[in-house]
């Protein structure tokens, strides 16, 4: 039953992606209200899924890889809804929807929605740790999206080849400001999640700690590297994409390893 909400949500995001693709093909690329409505509906349905699943489990629905992915897709949509319009990045929706769609389609099709083999006890610290970390991933995902937008806009300005999308993309300086804000937001949340992990009272696998600290160090270095290594905005944007790809691989690996029966 709860998966029906997810299927409906995926259809909403598909609509947003399809509409954008058609507009690009037609040579008119603009952020429309219908895209925002589709994403908002998709987000509402994601929330409904998490609520139903959470009630059934009696805890935050982060017990397997499937739920982790859906929670991450929800975090991406949540942060987009919070920051997208605020920073005049309405076009971010056109870039966010494909990312969310990709995560949800993979989660729905891959055989990963299995009950966790380990007996899970309700632990508020553990839930706080997991949810903070995943919402942080949402912020990193949007920093990655803003990074892609920056690279696209920069490329067009550099090569003097201005396509229809150029007129709808935000200015470079606004995009860079959004990237740094999202990085700081994600880094703050991730730090809170990382610290809370030590209070869960459970044994912490070394690999998991090492990977989590590596991700934290990477983003910390990225934020400080702007000044220490004189990273240009273009480098920061490119590193946001690299960092998120690496971080999501690490997240997948950690969850996959921790789910394997010992």
């Amino acid at each position: 039953m709860d998966r029906l909400f997810l299927v409906a949500s995926t259809l909403c995001f598909s609509f947003a992606v399809l509409r954008t693709a058609l507009l690009i093909r037609g040579g008119v690329f603009r952020p429309g209200r219908s895209n925002f409505v589709a994403i908002a509906s998709g987000f509402a349905l994601q929330t409904a899924f998490l609520w139903v699943r959470g009630n059934a489990l009696g805890r935050c629905p982060l017990t397997n890889l499937f739920e982790v992915f859906i929670f991450m897709a929800w975090s991406v949509a949540l942060i987009y809804m919070a920051v997208g319009p605020a920073y005049r990045l309405s076009l971010m929706g056109a870039f966010t929807a494909p990312l969310v769609l990709l995560i949800q389609v993979y989660a729905l099709l891959a055989p990963i929605d299995r009950p966790s083999p380990a007996k899970i006890v309700v632990n508020p610290w553990l839930e706080f740790h997991a949810s903070m970390s995943i919402v942080a991933y949402g912020a990193f995902a949007l920093a990655c999206v803003a990074g892609l937008m920056y690279l696209l806009q920069e490329r067009q300005l550099k090569t003097h080849q201005l396509h229809s999308v150029f007129h709808h993309l935000p200015p470079l300086t606004d995009l860079f400001a959004a990237i740094t804000r999202l990085l700081w937001l994600g880094f703050g949340l991730y730090t809170a999640g990382l610290i809370s992990g030590f209070f869960t009272g459970q044994p912490l696998p070394r690999l998991k700690i090492a990977c989590a600290i590596a991700v934290w160090l990477f983003y910390g270095a990225l934020l400080q590297g702007r000044h220490l290594f004189r990273l240009t905005p273009k480098h920061v944007a490119a590193l946001c994409v690299v960092a998120f790809s690496a971080a999501v691989s690490v997240l997948w690996a950690i969850t996959f390893v921790s789910q394997r029966p010992t």
């Binding site: 008119v28 300005l157 007129h167 993309l169 200015p171 300086t173 905005p233």
Partner: protein, 358 residues
């Protein structure tokens, strides 16, 4: 009696500038009385002179030409240049004009402001009655819709506005940006003025002749800086407009690279409108530098114009829907008029339009 809605006029499509000058009447005092119309409105811009009217009997083009003549030449001269649209064709023509589809630069928005101005004048003088009111309100609505749902107004089509658009796409707000104008040419002046109109407050001008730099600085509201200091200014500025008569590039990759190391997070937008070029082309390869020469600016202006032309069909579709709707209303009103009732006079009592609104 049936109402005859018509438009008679000439434009850049049908008349050269000499002919247009001959009929460039701008005052429309006593327009209705002179022409014998129940409603009449004069739209006069540098590219067109048109009279929109409602009359019980058809009014000849020659009579309208006579009214519009401003010179001493005979009104019959250039009469061939006049076109005439009636009923739904008139509606379609006005909608196309208001949307900028009939303009010399397709998609330009100035004509919409001029149409609003013409309507407002006619309304004040009593020339615009219920039918023209409905017609022009419809035109403003269609223009807004076409601008919203197509890319007809998208992209700049002149060198100065392309430069300003690009600056906006790099920096967003331009109010706190620092601009250096290198060389006091006419195109630099126009570009500098365009940037100032977008809120730039810190504009520096430099030229080999200090006197010319000071003159241009005074003209555009900037300040003159010594020509020897321009390289040093590159550390602070965000936008460089260059148009000197130098035969060799003034700014090279070797000169700029050390400067950029000090401002690694701040982009530098260089507009090189000099021929031969003042800035070596490989400067564009430097990280954070966006170099545009006269050809690339011209090319973008042409791309924008081509994009606008592509959007004409989409605009025509929107217009066709509204013309059909207006046509149905017009036929209904004509039917009522034959039966003896009037076009609802209450609509004209609306407050005047703000000319600047879109």
């Amino acid at each position: 009696m049936p109402m005859n809605l018509f438009c008679v006029g000439l434009s850049h499509h049908t008349a050269n500038v000499e002919t247009r000058e001959r009929y460039a009447r701008t005052d429309n005092e006593a327009l209705c009385e002179t022409l014998g119309c129940t409603e009449a409105l004069l739209l006069s811009t540098c590219n067109r002179v048109e009279v929109y009217g409602v009359a019980e009997r058809a009014i000849e083009n020659a009579r309208l030409a006579q009214y519009l003549t401003v010179s001493n030449s005979a009104a019959s001269e250039g009469l061939d240049a006049f076109y005439r649209y009636e009923s739904e064709a008139c509606v379609q023509h006005l909608f196309r004009v208001a949307c900028g589809l009939d303009s010399m630069v397709v998609g330009e928005t100035e004509v919409l402001g001029q149409t609003k101005q013409a309507y407002e004048t006619a309304r004040r003088l009593g020339g615009a009655g219920p039918l023209l009111h409905r017609l022009f309100q419809g035109a403003f609505r269609v223009a807004k819709q076409v601008r919203t749902y197509t890319d007809i107004t998208r992209g700049a089509v002149s060198i100065g506005s392309v430069a300003v658009d690009l600056a906006g796409k790099i920096f967003g707000e331009l109010t706190r940006r620092k601009v250096l104008v290198l060389g006091a040419g006419e195109t630099s002046e126009r570009t500098a003025r365009a940037l100032m109109s977008r809120g730039v407050t810190d504009l520096r001008v430099t030229n080999r002749s200090r006197e010319r730099a000071e003159r241009l600085a005074a003209l555009v509201g900037g300040r003159a800086v010594p020509f020897t200091a321009w390289e040093n200014e590159c550390r602070e500025i965000d936008i460089l407009i260059s148009s000197t008569a130098a035969e060799e590039p003034l700014l090279t990759r070797e000169k700029l690279a050390p400067v950029l190391r000090e401002r690694w997070e701040r982009p530098l937008f260089i507009i090189d409108i000099a021929v031969p070029r003042d800035v070596a082309p490989d400067v564009n390869e430097l990280e954070g530098v966006f170099l545009y020469d006269i050809d690339s600016l011209q090319s973008i202006a042409e791309q924008s114009l081509a994009l606008r032309r592509q959007q004409v069909a989409a605009g025509e579709q929107i217009i066709a829907t509204h013309v059909a709707e207006f046509g149905r209303w017009l036929r209904r009103e004509e039917g009522s008029s034959r039966r003896g009732s009037n076009v609802g006079p209450a609509v004209i009592a609306e407050p005047p339009l703000r000319i600047s609104e879109s």
